[in-house]
């Protein structure tokens, strides 16, 4: 469970012993090959970025040059002024942040209760969470749509947000961490007549701050990236999120790849930035949730 993206002392020692061997030609070749494959894997992203700053003529000249003859930001200006991308951005940010905040707060509270409190219905709720884990949200799209239509929430932020609040894995990960907090902490706090809310917010959450950060970031990335539900819930351009909206960017004059790549870059930027800033937290969160799935 404590999988971290840093090499353990054992692996470092193993690598050192490997390094002591005379000359490891095969090893060197393998490393180089890995680097080449990694760069190839990154290349499509590079190609999208580079296309977005090429002049339109160069994009369709078939020259396929790996470096733009001239950097232009026309495509960005074009999508900024000719599409609703600014509105989609606001929609994406508002919905993703609200989803992450609500999921984290409601899951932490629920997990604390499941882990530390004894109350009727506890088992039923835990079974429900595990059941929820197996159920594909994609199978519920029809009824989510009907439900949101009945509430008159289609094409609203609330309509995009609500069905995405179901993230059972967050509760399970929290519960596992709360279970592993030594009981003495809680008992000592209770001696000082601290209530459960105080214990949750002053002891359990701060002790697991890293977990909260990891789960919050991964929930945000997931919410930002989600496609199917926002695509169904937001049919008007004014309520679309960025990932849905950018599939609508069209031009009356044929090939618009420069502009399409600019919108792709703009749509992917927030999650790419979040990932690059919090690499370790993101990988930690993924390993935690995969651990739960196993």
């Amino acid at each position: 469970m404590s999988a971290e993206a840093i090499p353990s002392t054992e692996t470092i020692a193993a690598e050192r012993s490997r390094r002591d061997r005379p000359i490891d030609l095969i090893g060197l070749a393998l490393s180089l090959l890995t680097l080449v494959v990694a760069l190839a894997s990154f290349f499509p992203i590079y190609w999208a970025i580079i296309t977005s700053v090429k002049p339109d003529g160069e994009v369709i000249s078939g020259s396929n040059s790996l470096w733009p003859g001239r950097f232009v930001f026309d495509s960005y200006i074009h999508i900024w002024t000719n599409t609703n991308i600014a509105i989609w951005y606001v929609n994406s940010f508002v919905t993703s942040i609200v989803i992450s905040a609500l999921v984290i707060v409601s899951s932490a509270g629920c997990a604390y209760a499941l882990s530390q409190l004894d109350f009727p219905g506890r088992r039923v709720i835990y079974v429900l969470i595990l059941a929820c884990f197996m159920v594909p949200m994609q199978a519920l799209i029809v009824n989510h749509f009907v439900l949101m239509a009945q509430f008159k929430l289609l094409n609203t932020w609330a309509g995009i947000i609500l069905p995405q609040l179901i993230v059972p894995v967050v509760i399970i990960v929290y519960k596992q961490f709360f279970d592993s907090v030594p009981k003495e902490f809680r008992e000592a706090a209770q001696m000082d007549s601290a209530g459960h809310f105080k214990i949750l917010f002053r002891i359990y959450l701060p002790m697991n701050w890293g977990v909260t950060a990891a789960l919050g970031i991964i929930t945000f990335i997931g919410a930002w990236n989600s496609f199917l539900w926002p695509f169904l819930a937001a049919t008007g351009e004014a309520t679309m999120t960025v990932p849905v909206g950018i599939t609508q960017v069209k031009d009356a004059y044929g090939i618009v790849y420069g502009k399409l790549m600019a919108s792709a870059v703009v749509a992917g930027l927030p999650v790419a930035v979040v990932y690059l800033l919090f690499q370790r937290r993101v990988t930690q969160a993924i390993m935690l949730s995969a651990g739960v799935k196993g």
């Binding site: 353990s8 692996t11 509270g109 519920l140 399409l260 749509a267």
Partner: protein, 293 residues
């Protein structure tokens, strides 16, 4: 003491309340409603007559459902196995690298995974474009020097989308494999090196058996995830031919949102739901018995 108990229940109610509300309204109720709807002949919005198992009979014998099922199975086959093998090979290679270099290489593989599906779609749609796409440089020699569409013909469609999907999701599997590889004690490799075991032998005799539990996990996570496939296949098939490349979720989508057949769409969803539950239970059994060994 009784007062304590009561205040504990009250606290629990406050803490669990939001969860119960959210999951009750957005999970339990829609699930019940979905099952009920599957027995009626209703439009997407509104009520309809109770028709018993008619919808199930109809859907199960519906040609398009079969097509959706086989397309999904084909897609699963094309993605899950190559993705697992390639990810394992890359993970073993990445695991050998040191410090900063490892971080950089891992980031190259992982970055695609966190991008939204539509970004992936736009990027690759540009790369494989018939007229100007970069991929044509590599495709043309195999097509008698002519450019070739990689998504506009039925035989090319699924392999291309599967390739893009593998590129997109590989980072996740690589990460899990690296976590698994780090758990293998280095002493085992040191002993093997003393015995002058070749790299390949070390891989087949040590790494592969010890990494098998993670492999089983990676396989089943993907299997379940790919059954729910919609986004990429839908995006790449925009502009017609959707029936030929339809997947199960697309089939549900088509019945509900294009044909306004709420009842039948719910039936198809229940069937998908059943398949995934069966797979999840199987996965749980496999991984649990493996854990007990």
């Amino acid at each position: 003491m009784l007062r304590d108990k009561r205040s504990e229940w009250l606290t629990a109610a406050v803490l669990v309340g939001p969860f119960v509300l959210i999951y009750g309204v957005l999970f339990v109720w829609p699930t019940i409603q979905m099952v009920m709807l599957s027995f009626t002949k209703a439009p997407l919005i509104g009520t309809g007559d109770w028709v018993g198992i008619d919808n199930y009979v109809k859907i199960l014998s519906h040609k398009l459902f079969h097509q959706a099922f086989w397309n999904t199975a084909y897609f699963v086959l094309l993605t899950v196995i190559p993705n697992t093998l390639v990810s394992l090979l890359i993970a073993t290679a990445v695991n050998r690298l040191k410090g900063g270099m490892q971080g950089l290489v891992l980031a190259c593989f992982f970055l695609p995974y966190i991008l939204p599906v539509s970004v992936v779609f736009l990027t690759w749609n540009w790369i494989i474009d018939v007229q100007y796409g970069l991929a044509q440089v590599f495709v043309r020699p195999f097509n008698g020097g002519e450019p070739m569409s990689l998504t506009r013909t039925i035989p090319a469609f699924m392999p291309t989308v599967a390739f893009v999907t593998v590129w997109w999701t590989m980072g996740f599997n690589i990460l899990l494999f690296i976590a698994g590889l780090r758990n293998i004690s280095p002493e085992i490799y040191e002993a093997a090196q003393l015995d002058n075991a070749s790299r390949w032998r070390q891989f087949t005799r040590i790494t592969w058996p010890l990494i098998w539990p993670i492999t089983a996990l990676v396989l089943t996570i993907q299997l379940i995830a790919q059954l729910k496939i919609f986004d990429q296949v839908y995006l790449f098939s925009i502009g017609g031919r959707q029936d030929a490349t339809i997947t199960l979720v697309q089939y549900v989508y088509k019945l509900a949102f294009q044909q306004n057949k709420g009842g039948e769409a719910a039936t198809a969803a229940v069937l998908l739901f059943g398949m995934i539950i069966i797979l999840s239970v199987l996965q749980y059994q496999v991984l649990r018995t493996r854990g007990e060994k």
